[in-house]
Every structure is written in C-alpha cells, then in structure tokens.
Amino acid sequence: MALNTDYEDIPGTYIFNGRRCREGYQLNQFCKSLDREENREAFREDGATYLDRFRLTPEQRRAVETRDWLGMLHLGGNIYYTFKLAIFDGLSMQQVGGMMSQMTVDDFKQMMMEGGRSPSGNVSKKENINDG
C-alpha cells in the first residue's frame, strides 16, 4: 500500500514518523532520562559528561547545548521528549512555544488568550504559496 504523507504539507509541523523516530532516538532517550532525579542531578553537575552517555550526532549535541528547541525537532526530537529538557531548565510550554514560533512569551500568551493560532493561513504550505 502506498503511504500517504500529505502531513508534510502542514506548515511549521514535524510529524514524528518512523524516519524522525529513528533519527531522534538517542536525542529523545537523553531527554527522557531527565525524568529521574538522579539523572537530573548528574546532568546539572556535569552536562558534557552526562551527554557523553548518549550517542548524539554533533548537530543534535549542539542543539541540546544551545537549547535550540526548533532545531531539536528538525533533528528527530519529539516535543514530549524535548520538553523534559525544558522542564529541567524551568521553562513552561508557553515559553517554549514562543521560542519555536519566534514570538515573545507575552505575545504567545496573548495569542492564546485570543483563541490561539488561527487555522487561517496555517493549514497548507501549498495553499500559502498559491495565495501568496
């Protein structure tokens, strides 16, 4: 059967399919490890040594070190995993949401108060190009 990948047309969205799941495996397992207090302590004490436990690609390691939240998604990270690193940093989902969408957290919160990011102009890359 032919697999439908129409979801690749959704703007600003990284569907966690088999390819991304494989690419991001070590990155996501690193993030996941931070749900144990002893691991959080070890990562807090010596982040570089802790990261050595995981076979991250140089790009993934850089994205973690620079807290490039969008970059982690490009490299196979999944938000439920990468958010564990954000929790470690004391960030809220709204702060991370703002950083991934190049908005200040106040603007992001205001957008949510006004009903969230509208579907209008946000459902199809192709349509956006055709309309643009």
Binding site: N4, D6, Y7, D9, I10, P11, G12, T13, Y14, I15, F16, N17, G18, C21, G24, Y25, N28, Q29, C31, K32, L34, D35, R36, E37, R40, L70, L73, N78, I79, Y80, Y81, F83, K84, I87, F88, S92, M93, Q94, V96, G97, G98, M100, S101, Q102, F108, M111, M112, M113, G115, G116, R117, S118, P119, N122, V123, S124
Partner: protein, 280 residues
C-alpha cells in the same frame, strides 16, 4: 454483571493538574475552566461508578521510544503518579482492578484486539488530570481505575475507526464480567492543540465544536477523519481526540448530559463532555 453506565470525554492538559495541585484553580486565569467542571463533578458523584476505564496516552513517562505499543492495558493492583520532571503530582495513588482488567485483556485478544498489558506502570498527567477534572482533590480516588494507554505520539497513531471498534469490543468485555460493577469510560486528550514547531499554539474551535456536535449521534462520521485531517485541522497533538472515540464506541445509547468548552488552557483548547448510557 458489570455494565457501562457513563462516558466522559475530557482534555488532560498538565496545567489543569498543576492549577489544582497549587490551589490556583479559581484564580482569574483558571476560574472559567474550573467553574465549568463543577456541574460535571456533581453529576459524576451521583453516577458514582465503581470502576473507571481511563483511556489516555502516556507522554514519554511510563514508556519511551525504546518500545512503542499501540494499545496497553494496565492490569496492576495499584499505580503511582509519574515523575514528569517536577517530581510526581501530589495526588492519591490509583487503585486498579487487576482481575477485571485481566478479564478485559483476555476478551479483547479473543475478539481480535491484540492489546499489550502492563503489570507495572506509573501514570502521568494523561491519567491523573482527568481524575482531577472529575473528582477534584479527594483523599483517595472514589473509584477503581483500569488504565488503557494509546500511542498518539509516534505516527501513525491507530485510526479513529480502530479506536471506535476497540470501544465496542471493550463494551462486550465489560458486559461479560460477572461482578456487579457500574463502569464509566473516560476518553481523554485534546481538544485541538499543537505544542510543537512554528505552528505551536494552533487551536481550531470550529473543528472542536464539530467533534462535540457529532459525538453522540454521528460517531461514524468522526471515524472517517483520517490522520492528515487530524494533524492538519486539530493540530499535531489534537489527534489525541481519537481516544474519545474509544469511549464513544463503548457507549450503546449515549445521552449527552453536559458539556464545557474553554480556550485557552495553556496551549490547548479544553473540552469536556458527559454521557449517560440509556442502555444501562
């Protein structure tokens, strides 16, 4: 015999749990949300189910990408709240019903649903928040809980139709259990939301209201919504709504008794719908 008497669809946003745990549930931000929970809490206290079958998804807590199961049924006697990075939520542990859960597991497999089981499993906000939504802050949860986890993180998630059929099989399994038990099924997650990427904060009220409006009388139409539509129109995390279709599939003759819809709950559209099953 056990019988299904009620169904609930509800969001399980972690911020709902945090607001309750830190007694911020009636502050300016959360009051409109939690005020809308009051009638549902009053209703569930009257329905008073002995057992809740709680359909939710684990968020990289009990499970990880090491092994991804599509459906996992908890068959343990007891479940502790998970540490999601902040330490576990200060809520009661969950009492399971191991014998009933094992019965359901066996029935489902003979009914062609090859469901995995968990004998040990921490339950994250996906499972504890719906209990907070419906039961507030009790000393102990007033019902036993059978957790049913659905993979909604790793694409492809099960189809909406598969979820609906699983709900139907679940009903048959429940009705063949000899103990006299009143059972409610909670389908949780959603409503529209997207946490990831440049589209973070996506909410689609039109989609959500369409979903709520069709759930009682027109569930077959909802089972035709495919992955791309969910991901595009409900948001990449809004596909959690397939779990509401397991609840709906388990209802024979549902009558909507209450609904509540509020935006925003953190980055999410919060929804709640309560059904009584008139076949019961």
């Amino acid at each position: 015999m056990a019988k299904i008497v009620a169904g609930v669809g509800t969001s399980h946003v972690p911020a709902i749990g945090a607001a309750s745990d830190h007694a911020k549930d009636r502050n300016e931000y959360f009051k409109p949300l939690f005020d809308g929970y009051d009638p549902a809490r009053e209703w569930i206290s009257k329905v008073n189910p002995d057992v809740v079958i709680l359909v939710y998804n684990d968020h990289a807590c009990a499970f990880s990408v090491e092994v991804v199961n599509t459906f996992v049924l908890g068959v343990a006697e007891k479940y502790e709240p998970a540490d999601e990075g902040y330490g576990p939520r200060p809520v009661p542990h969950i009492e399971g019903h191991a014998d009933f859960a094992s019965h359901i597991n066996e029935c489902l497999i003979f009914d062609e649903f090859d469901i995995a089981i968990a004998n040990e499993m921490a339950v994250d906000h996906g499972g504890t928040v719906p209990l907070t939504v419906m039961y507030d802050r009790p000393e102990s949860w007033p019902c036993k809980v059978i957790p049913l986890c659905v993979n909604v993180i790793k694409y492809p998630q099960p189809t909406g139709l598969r979820c609906y059929k699983l709900g139907k099989a679940l009903r048959k399994a429940v009705e063949s259990y000899p103990e006299d038990l009143r059972v409610a099924v909670f389908g949780t997650g959603g409503m529209s939301h997207q946490l990831q990427g440049e589209r973070a904060g996506f909410v689609n009220q039109e989609f959500d209201l369409m979903f709520l409006d069709n759930l009682q009388d027109n569930p077959e139409a909802l089972t035709k919504i495919d992955h791309n539509e969910y991901l595009r129109d409900a948001g990449s995390e809004g596909i959690e709504l397939i779990m509401w279709l397991i609840m709906r599939g388990a209802m024979e003759n549902p009558k909507e008794v209450y609904r509540h819809y509020h935006v925003p709950v953190s980055n999410t559209a919060g929804g709640l719908i309560c059904f009584e099953d008139e076949a019961a």
